[in-house]
């Protein structure tokens, strides 16, 4: 579905990504792990159009998206749920989810999507009138997922979805990602909770210094002893 080839990108102080090649297969959960500063979030910024690559190509279903605006890329079906909380705190849950379809003109289509999203995430209907800020961290993350699905995206990008969540909530969030994938969504995930992320993933990618160090099935990466020692730690 998505192909990055020879991507070089950075923020002015040097390149973070250095000739990166990465493929995201349709219907897969791809999980990127790696040290801090390896370029994981930078990849996501390049795909979403928030950072223009200096070199290389980014193709979505065969069409180049490198250098397009974030809005255009969004219109092509790539949505991103950022690392930090991103709901509008003073707006209700319902208003926040509707904002996900801000670019959709067809009101009936928006209503149909709201219904579909409420079926996938009952929390949206249950808490519809409450202000987003009154929800717990995990609930807010689930509402962010719901908002992302309002565009019926081809690719859902999640930047560290489990960060700051307690163990029970974290399990719920991972279950939700699994359910989104089973419902047909392609998911690209960056996760420092590396073992849980790779367990969930069909495809695992280890990033180091802006390049892919190793890739394979989630289980193969998880069970690679060298990768385990270098990147996954013993306790996570």
């Amino acid at each position: 579905m998505l192909e990055l080839e020879g991507v070089t990108a950075g923020y002015g102080g040097g390149d973070i990504l250095r000739g990166l090649d990465l493929t995201v297969e349709e219907g897969a959960v791809t999980c990127i792990v790696g040290p801090n500063g390896a370029g994981k979030s930078t990849i996501l910024r390049v795909i979403s159009g928030l950072l223009r690559p200096r070199l290389g190509s980014v193709r979505l279903r065969g069409a180049s998206i490198a250098g397009l605006s974030p809005r255009t890329i969004l219109g092509r079906g790539v949505v991103q749920v950022p690392q930090e909380r991103s709901l509008f705190p003073t707006m209700t849950v319902w208003e926040n989810v509707r904002m996900g379809a801000y670019t959709v003109r067809d009101r009936r289509l928006v209503e149909r999507r709201m219904e579909a999203v409420c079926q996938t995430f009952p929390l949206v209907a249950e808490r519809r009138h409450e202000r987003a800020a009154s929800l717990s961290g995990g609930q807010q993350k689930i509402i962010e997922f719901a908002r992302a699905l309002m565009l019926d995206p081809a690719l859902v990008i999640l930047d560290e979805p489990s960060m700051g969540l307690d163990p029970k909530t974290r399990a719920t969030v991972f279950d939700t990602i699994r359910a989104m994938n089973l419902a047909g969504r392609t998911v690209l995930l960056v996760e420092q909770n590396a073992r849980s992320g790779l367990r969930l993933a069909t495809h695992g990618v280890v990033l180091e210094s802006g390049r892919v160090r190793l890739e394979g099935t989630g289980t193969a990466v998880l069970n690679n002893p060298e990768i385990g020692r270098l990147y996954l730690g013993a306790t996570a």
């Binding site: 923020y11 002015g12 102080g13 792990v33 790696g34 040290p35 801090n36 500063g37 994981k40 979030s41 930078t42 690392q83 930090e84 717990s136 961290g137 995990g138 560290e160 960060m163 700051g164 969540l165 307690d166 163990p167 029970k168 909530t169 974290r170 399990a171 420092q192 909770n193 590396a194 073992r195 020692r229 270098l230 990147y231 996954l232 730690g233 013993a234 306790t235 996570a236």
Partner: protein, 243 residues
């Protein structure tokens, strides 16, 4: 002997009771983990101890002296350092300059202290190298990744040589392999006399590091004790860990 005593502390935000009659005792030389579900009041406890928000009721004593009602700068000056859940660094200073801010505050920036200043720079670089972020020492804080900011903040707080450090989710967004090294470093600092109070959801990290745990739920202490006992406590399993 207790380094910090928190006694019957309470805080409300409008109709929400964030911290409810909470008492804690942090012995000198310990590493205490403060755990609990999202929204249980852990960060509010940190904000109360460090003077970022005023308490509604209760008392807090650091080295037997009441710190209730003091501002964050006074409490910091007495020897309580902290980090934040979302790292707070100076985005327009380099990573190395960020490291030197706590030292400058401590009065090392004057001309007379030039030799000492050079020593502090060396110490700051060594700390950055240890945290695996030595290569970004000259980059602006604002250009660092989320995880790198967390590491920088943790490194910077140690520069002021506090006696008690409150760490708010030090593992959040940090690579697991590096976490083990951070845990080792915290243990070494602890052996050198620094006491830690740690809020963290990564149970592997907490179990491995902490000498005792305190569990909060809805602003109240619901359990406490040795990590292995707390982990097996049915009340904690139900409220926090899940089956």
């Amino acid at each position: 002997m207790s380094l910090l005593e928190v006694e019957r502390l309470s805080k409300r935000f409008g109709g929400v009771v964030a911290v409810d009659d909470c008492s804690l005792s942090i012995p000198k030389g310990s590493i205490i983990g403060l755990i609990g579900p999202n929204g249980s009041g852990k960060t509010t406890v940190f904000n109360l101890i460090t003077g970022f928000i005023p308490r509604d009721a209760g008392d807090m004593r650091f080295k037997s002296r009441s710190i209730a009602g003091l501002g964050p700068d006074r409490i910091y000056g007495l020897g309580i350092g902290r980090t934040f859940q979302l790292a707070r660094i100076f985005p327009r200073l380099t990573a190395l300059e960020n490291m030197l801010v706590p030292v400058r505050r401590a009065g090392m920036g004057g001309l007379l202290a030039r030799a000492q200043w050079g020593h502090e720079k060396t110490r700051a670089m060594a700390m950055l190298e240890f945290m695996d972020i030595g290569s970004v020492a000259s980059m602006l804080g604002g250009a660092l990744s989320y995880g790198q900011r967390k590491l920088l903040e943790l490194a910077a707080v140690m520069m002021a040589e506090p006696e008690l450090v409150l760490l708010d989710e030090p593992a959040g967004g940090v690579n697991p392999a590096l976490l083990e090294r951070i845990a080792d470093h915290i243990r070494r600092l602890n052996a050198g006399g620094v006491t830690f109070l740690v809020v963290e959801h990564n149970m592997g990290f907490v179990m491995n590091l902490c000498t005792e745990l305190v569990v909060l739920a809805q602003g109240r202490v619901i359990a406490g004790g040795k990590p292995e006992d707390v982990r097996a406590n049915p009340v904690v399993l139900d409220a926090y860990l899940g089956a």
